[in-house]
């Protein structure tokens, strides 16, 4: 029983929501809070479709609250700012990523790591301070605390910037944190999807040599000619794997399906680092010998704090880094989800909210 909470707040809004674990999205009317003194209200123009949206609409992780309006790669134009808002003004191009709240007082928050705050609030499907459920960017308007809104420079097209707000920061943050951003290092990117293709672009812009590691030989041309990778390794080819043993300083693993870690650990030089970003359903097998004999490490990372997200956007603007997108109409979203499940997209769907999300009477 979803109740009347969707309509109790002052501002009418509409979007598309999933109402059950079938994950099928359909038009949905709801309401947003009024623009508080620290809030920024904006008209949504584009929203990227993240693989997490697919997991959430089907309640794969068991945490979904229905009706669920997904979307955490949101870009738009400011329509109203609260009296205490300092960084942004009406008309500004802005973006919102995966979070809209945190405690602001814990060690993580004080160190610009709001993403690791135990009270961090997700952009959609989470309980906000006022008890209401947050609704994401598959909608016409959002109201977000200024702290969690980033500015998007003029030279970044909004549709291509949207996926940076989750996929972009998700790969940028660990490249910096694990020191895989130094010119001349050899970095591998496993998996060429939403995260992977941006990892290639960011890593190249940071001056590293990039090898895409993939199970699909068909992606080689794309990887080398379109994305600018330096080389391509087919991970099912034993000869190629053997020849590349001990040649990587770091590997960014974006694959969320079950897959073996042993070959990836073998590709690392001693003191190499394997960064895992995808979350498989079951634990992975970690062989101790290669980790110990080469003093290698395996670390995770999850999105990034707000300061770093802005830094990432500015870096992308400076280096001309844009996501490769397929822009779709709102009513194509269910078909897009089916295709996303099969990995059939180069490399992010972005919903043209501004032009195709029709208001609901």
């Amino acid at each position: 029983m979803t109740g009347l909470s969707e309509e109790v707040r002052p501002n009418k809004a509409f979007g598309w929501a999933a109402i059950d674990t079938s994950g099928v999205l359909s038009p949905f009317k709801f309401s947003t809070r009024g623009t508080g003194e620290k809030d920024v209200a904006f008209k949504v123009l584009y929203c990227g479709i993240c693989h997490s949206d697919l997991h959430m609409i089907k309640n794969d992780w068991g945490t979904s609250i229905y009706p669920l309006v997904p979307g955490h790669e949101v870009v738009g134009e400011v329509t109203e700012v609260g009296s205490k808002v300092q960084k942004l003004k009406v008309g500004d191009r802005v973006g919102v990523g995966c979070m809209v709240g945190s405690c602001h007082s814990c060690d993580n928050c004080t160190n610009n790591l709001e993403n690791y705050c135990p009270e961090m609030i997700f952009t959609y499907g989470a309980k906000y301070y006022d008890g209401t459920v947050t609704y994401g960017g598959y909608s016409n308007t959002m109201v977000v605390d200024e702290h969690f809104v980033v500015g998007i420079p003029e030279n970044l097209p909004l549709d291509a910037a949207a996926p940076l707000l989750c996929a972009g920061i998700t790969v940028y943050s660990p490249l910096r944190f694990y020191g895989l951003d130094k010119p001349g290092l050899h970095v591998g990117v496993v998996g060429l999807g939403g995260l992977g293709h941006l990892a290639v672009k960011f890593a190249k812009a940071m001056g590293t040599k990039v090898t895409v590691i993939s199970t699909s030989p068909s992606k080689q041309k794309e990887a080398l000619e379109n994305l600018g990778a330096d080389s391509f390794l087919v991970s099912r080819e034993q000869d190629q794997l053997r020849a590349a043993i001990g040649t990587f300083d770091g590997i960014v693993d974006t694959v969320s399906a079950q897959h073996p870690l042993l070959p990836l650990l073998g590709l690392l030089k001693s003191h190499g680092k394997l960064v895992v970003l995808g979350i498989p359903e079951k634990p992975l097998e970690l062989p101790a010998f290669p980790l110990i004999q080469g003093r290698k490490l395996l670390g995770g990372s999850m999105i990034g704090g707000m300061k770093e997200t802005q830094e990432m956007i500015d870096f992308a603007a400076e280096h001309g880094i844009k996501a490769d997108t397929e822009v779709i109409a709102m009513d194509y979203v269910n078909a897009a989800m089916d295709r996303l499940l099969k990995g059939d997209v180069k490399y992010r769907f972005v919903i043209d909210i501004g032009n195709t999300l029709k208001s609901i009477s």
Binding site: Y116, H271, I279, P283, I292, G294, S301
Partner: protein
């Protein structure tokens, strides 16, 4: 019966070896090379019994070459030094640890990380480039290239200091590398055996707050009263484990059997680091979610380079850190191995080689 070396002059040596996967040790005559220009010959006084010795004896890792004379926590007296040897002279107290050779020219060797050299040679169960086999410290003497010999500090007890040569460096090195030495931070030590008990002592010397995490609740009093740990966490108590969630900056995991990583990862704060040192013969189960959601990492470490091993010995000498040992005679070694397999030792057996090894 060892083959005589191809073209190399050999001298007689005597020790105890296992000849098959039963791992049972018995007296064994073999030979070692003569002391070369770069070499130091040690009369062995003591040798620690490392859990790796047990793994190797029974071919648990699948690469044992029998007969095997284990032992890589060797303390002795130099009896002879080659003409190019400057750091040591006859009569010096010296030690030999886990390795006796490396290429000396690669990047790792040049950075004092000989332990990560792709041509690193283990003290025992290994072969030299000339094809000769290496035998470890459960023996009367050993000949080692000076680069891989350590000066044994005067104020470290020879017997209780022996385990530092593997156990000591194995926990000291990752504490330095992974930045686990900031005074006041909270370190968990999982497993209270040879490695674990030395880790507690070294960590306390770095000024860390130390919690021992163990599946044996009866070790609590020892951990706190004798070893100086600040607290004890019984890993088999779900309520206690739950209350410790997100409380540790780092964990050193010394457990050598296959064990779940999830409970340990949960104990770490955000950005926490887990260093795994045990070498089970099967992979560990790694849940990825806690790594991702808390930016945590799992890293390995393999004993240490020669420079760092010397640094560790000097550090331990300065802080009066030695292992807690049970001194045994060589003829008690098989019983000791059985007890080690049951973790029935506080916390390292050390063989009194000089006094008990006779032909």
């Amino acid at each position: 019966m060892s083959k005589s070396a191809e073209g190399e002059k050999q001298q007689k040596a005597f020790g105890w070896a296992a000849t098959d996967e039963s791992g049972t040790l018995s007296p064994f005559h073999f030979s070692r090379r003569e002391n070369g220009d770069e070499d130091v010959t040690l009369k062995i006084l003591y040798c620690g019994v490392c859990h790796s010795d047990l793994h190797n004896l029974t071919n648990e890792w699948g690469f044992t070459s029998y007969p095997v004379v284990p032992g890589h926590e060797i303390v002795g007296v130099a009896t002879k030094v080659g003409k190019n040897v400057t750091k040591f002279k006859a009569g010096d107290q010296v030690g030999v640890g886990v390795m006796v050779g490396s290429c000396k020219t690669c990047e790792c060797c040049q950075q004092d990380l000989e332990n990560y050299c792709s041509q690193m040679i283990f003290t025992y169960n290994s072969h030299n480039p000339d094809g000769t086999k290496n035998y470890g410290g459960y023996s009367d003497m050993i000949v080692v290239d000076q680069r891989y010999v350590l000066r044994f500090p005067d104020n470290l007890p020879l017997d209780a200091g022996a385990p530092l040569l593997c156990a000591g460096i194995t926990v000291y090195s990752p504490m330095k590398y992974y930045g686990m030495t900031e005074a006041g931070k909270h370190l968990g030590v999982a497993g209270l055996g040879g490695l674990g008990h030395v880790a507690v002592k070294i960590a306390k010397a770095f000024g860390l707050k130390v919690t021992v995490i163990s599946s044996s609740p009866q070790k609590e009093s020892e951990a706190i009263n004798r070893l100086g740990a600040d607290s004890f966490l019984a890993s088999s108590d779900p309520a206690k484990m739950k209350s410790a969630i997100g409380s540790m900056d780092y964990i050193i995991d010394t457990v050598s059997a296959v064990h779940p990583l999830f409970p340990l990862l949960s104990l770490l704060k955000v950005n926490g680091k887990l260093v795994t040192l045990g070498l089970p013969n099967k992979p560990l189960e790694l849940p990825v979610f806690p790594l991702v959601s808390g930016r945590k990492l799992v890293g390995g470490s393999d004993f240490g380079g020669m420079k760092e091993t010397q640094e560790m010995l000097d550090f331990c000498a300065k802080h009066n850190i030695a292992a807690d040992i049970e001194l045994i005679r060589i003829d008690e070694i098989n019983t000791a191995m059985e007890r080690l397999a049951r973790s029935d030792v506080r916390y390292r057996f050390v063989i009194d080689v000089a006094d008990s090894l006779s032909q």
